[in-house]
Amino acid sequence: MIGLSHYLIVSAILFSIGLAGVLRRRNLLMLFFATEVMLNAVNIAFAAISHYYNDLTGQMFAFFIIAIAASEVAVGLGILIVLYKKHGSLDLDDLANMRG
């Protein structure tokens, strides 16, 4: 029988994959993908907890996370576009004007 822990562990693994992606990616677009992975991982956790507690709050949270992720994508891509126009690159290594 599949228990809550199963789902949560999957969620944890996916979250860590997302985190690893955030860490290793230097391309901003790909980096954004990784953040989406992290949020999706959390969504699985919420849905699973909601299911096992028989409580709707988790689904609510997941719902809002989806909304937030969508907004983030919009704003993030907007910023990426102005950045790309200015720099012509999405590589983080080219983006280190400010340091120290």
Partner: protein, 632 residues
């Protein structure tokens, strides 16, 4: 009578202020005259007080105002005129007056004439405070005051440059002045400690209160107090090992040497011991130490005088030696004899210095007696004065020194301190020798000065006349021994020779006299005809040692002054800058370096930032996991 006290005290002060008004102006003859007159007034007042005290046996005690009061300490400006202080007052004002008049002549070519009188009178005022004060703190005021005046006066010709020790053992007047001041300060610390001991055990610094409560004090405390007070006395009276400043102090103008470094200030130490005799009387160990040290210094200084070629330094050594005698007397309990010798010594030693001053005046400040000789033709009166003074110093009968010094030597016999007696007797012989060596080399024999192109001339008449009271006193002072004893022993403890001594006194006297006369005779034989230099003797180690003052000044320089300067330099450069300050700066630099190092985490690369963040989060998770494992 109170007014007289104040007149005696403040007339010199007024004189000083008056002269100070013109301190920066060119020479004004009237300054010297006014100063001398004011000093004369002080002398007269002192004499009147002396007469009053002598006749009535009363003492006068005045309190002018409060000085310091803090905690339980109350120090007034109080003055007491009793047998001891009035004696000192008389001696001080008398010698001072003479020296003031003398200075009118001696300093007449000096452009700082007015300043000189200001300092000189200030000194007299300080000295009067010293002797008249009714408490130890007041004494200390005067004590320091005379120190400063001595500093000012030794360094009077401050513009002279420093020279090497070979050229001038005192290096320069300003150097000598500083040396004197600092050496005195060393002793002053001892004196202060003595005061503190007294205060915390008595609760007061008034003489009468202190002396009244002595019986309740423990022996250790008394010993400590006596010892520290005596350390103070050692500085001012230039006792070994703090003696080197006195000979260097001869850099000052000669009247200063006469007044300060012979007659008055240097005897302050003796005065202190006499003043505080109730304390010393209760501390026989310290007293014996004083006597022994005094005897030692008497001999020690006389030995250095034997070979010295500097006119003033010889007299300075003799002063040192005579101070040793005084301490010997005081240490042996014969306070009144010490005081008597102090007074007598003041007269003939001042006379001797003033005579030396005449010679210097005549010889354009030349001091080397080897370059003199045969001055008697040009300076008959001076020769006479110096001869008389030397006779008195040598202890030839019927001169002042005979009575006083003999009594001291007799005391040493009387106390059964045979070694002290022997040394003192031998020293008496040496004293006679060097005194007359000096006199003969200066005034008799071939006229060596001619080869150096000097044109000696006699001092002004009025100066010579002014010196006459001293000369007279140097001759006759001894005859007042009986009344003097009677007078001062109203206050000071009586000192009676034992019958045995009394019995032998004429033999003892003869022995001393024999030594003195043979000293003179030796001097006569060797130097009367002129200077015959003995190369072999002069190159011998002991001659050199004596001529170099046992190398003590060199020792001080090598082992105290230079190391002090070196350590100071090291303290500054090594410790203060390299350790203390460098630590402070090091902390600041460390912080700055840390900042420089840690700003490297701010690479500007977002990926690194994300890594930092993840590292932070994961680290926190790890810590959480570990803590959870611990907490359970």
């Amino acid at each position: 009578m109170e007014n007289l006290v104040y007149i005696a005290l403040f007339a010199p002060f007024a004189s000083s202020l008056f002269a100070a008004l013109f301190g920066m102006s060119p020479k004004k003859q009237f300054v010297g005259i006014v100063a001398s007159v004011l000093l004369g007034i002080s002398l007269v007042a002192s004499l009147m007080l002396a007469a009053y005290v002598y006749q009535t046996g009363n003492t006068i005690h005045v309190t002018m105002m409060d000085w310091i009061s803090a905690g339980d300490l109350h120090i007034p400006f109080g003055f007491v005129v009793d047998q001891v202080s009035v004696t000192m007052m008389t001696v001080v004002t008398l010698v001072s007056t003479v020296v003031h008049i003398y200075s009118n002549g001696y300093m007449d070519h000096d452009k700082s004439f007015n300043r000189f009188f200001s300092y000189l009178s200030a000194f007299v005022f300080s000295m009067m405070v010293l002797v008249m004060s009714d408490n130890f703190a007041g004494l200390f005021i005067g004590w320091e005051g005379v120190g400063v005046c001595s500093w000012l006066l030794i360094g009077f010709w401050y513009h002279k440059p420093d020279v090497s020790r070979e050229e001038n053992p005192a290096i320069s007047p300003s150097w000598a002045a500083n040396e004197a001041f600092i050496m005195n300060r060393i002793a002053d610390l001892g004196m202060l400690v003595g005061l503190f001991i007294i205060y915390w055990n008595v609760g007061s610094l008034q003489y009468d209160a202190v002396f009244a409560s002595l019986p309740q004090m423990s022996g250790a405390i008394l010993n400590a107090a006596a010892l520290f007070l005596f350390i103070g006395a050692m500085g001012k009276s230039a006792q070994f090992p703090l003696h080197t400043w006195l000979t260097d102090a001869m850099e000052g103008p000669t009247p200063v040497s006469a007044l300060i470094h012979a007659a008055t200030m240097v005897t302050a130490g003796v005065f202190l011991v006499i003043r505080a005799n109730p304390i010393f009387a209760l501390t026989p160990e310290v007293s014996y130490f004083i006597a022994a040290l005094g005897t030692f210094v008497a001999f020690f200084a006389a030995s250095m005088a034997l070979v010295n070629r500097d006119l003033k330094r010889i007299i300075a050594f003799s002063t040192l030696s005579q101070l040793g005698y005084m301490f010997a007397a005081a240490g042996l309990g014969a306070y009144w004899i010490a005081l008597f010798h102090l007074a007598a010594h003041a007269f003939f030693k001042a006379l001797l210095f003033l005579g030396a001053g005449n010679v210097m005046h005549a010889m354009d400040d030349e001091l080397d007696i080897f370059k003199m000789g045969g001055l008697k033709k040009a300076m008959k009166w001076t020769y006479l004065y110096m001869g008389v003074a030397s006779l008195a110093l040598a202890g030839i009968p019927f001169f002042a020194g005979y009575f006083s010094k003999d009594a001291i030597i007799e005391t040493a016999w009387n106390e059964g301190t045979l070694i002290l007696w022997i040394i003192l007797v031998v020293t008496a012989g040496m004293t006679a020798f060097y005194s007359f060596r000096q006199v003969f080399l200066t005034f008799e024999g071939d006229e060596r000065y001619k080869t150096y192109g000097f044109h000696p001339h006699e001092m002004y008449k009025y100066v010579l006349i002014a010196m006459s009271p001293l000369a007279i006193l140097a001759v006759i002072a001894g005859f007042f021994k009986e009344p003097f004893e009677h007078f001062v022993t109203q206050l000071l403890p009586e000192y009676e020779m034992s019958e045995h001594t009394e019995h032998l006194s004429w033999i003892l006297g003869l022995i001393v006299l024999a030594f003195a006369v043979s000293g003179i005779a030796l001097a006569y034989k060797k130097y009367y005809r002129g200077l015959k230099r003995d190369e072999k003797l002069e190159s011998s180690w002991y001659y050199k040692m004596l001529a170099n003052q046992y190398y003590i000044p060199n020792f001080y320089e090598e082992f105290i002054s230079k190391p002090y300067a070196m350590i100071s330099e090291a303290m500054w450069n090594k410790v203060d800058m390299k350790i203390v300050d460098a630590t402070v700066d090091g902390i600041a630099k460390f912080l700055y370096k840390t900042g420089d190092g840690s700003r490297k985490m701010q690479t500007g690369n977002l990926s690194n930032y994300l890594n930092w963040m993840a590292v932070g989060a994961v680290m926190l998770l790890v810590v959480a996991a570990l803590s959870a494992a611990v907490i359970g």
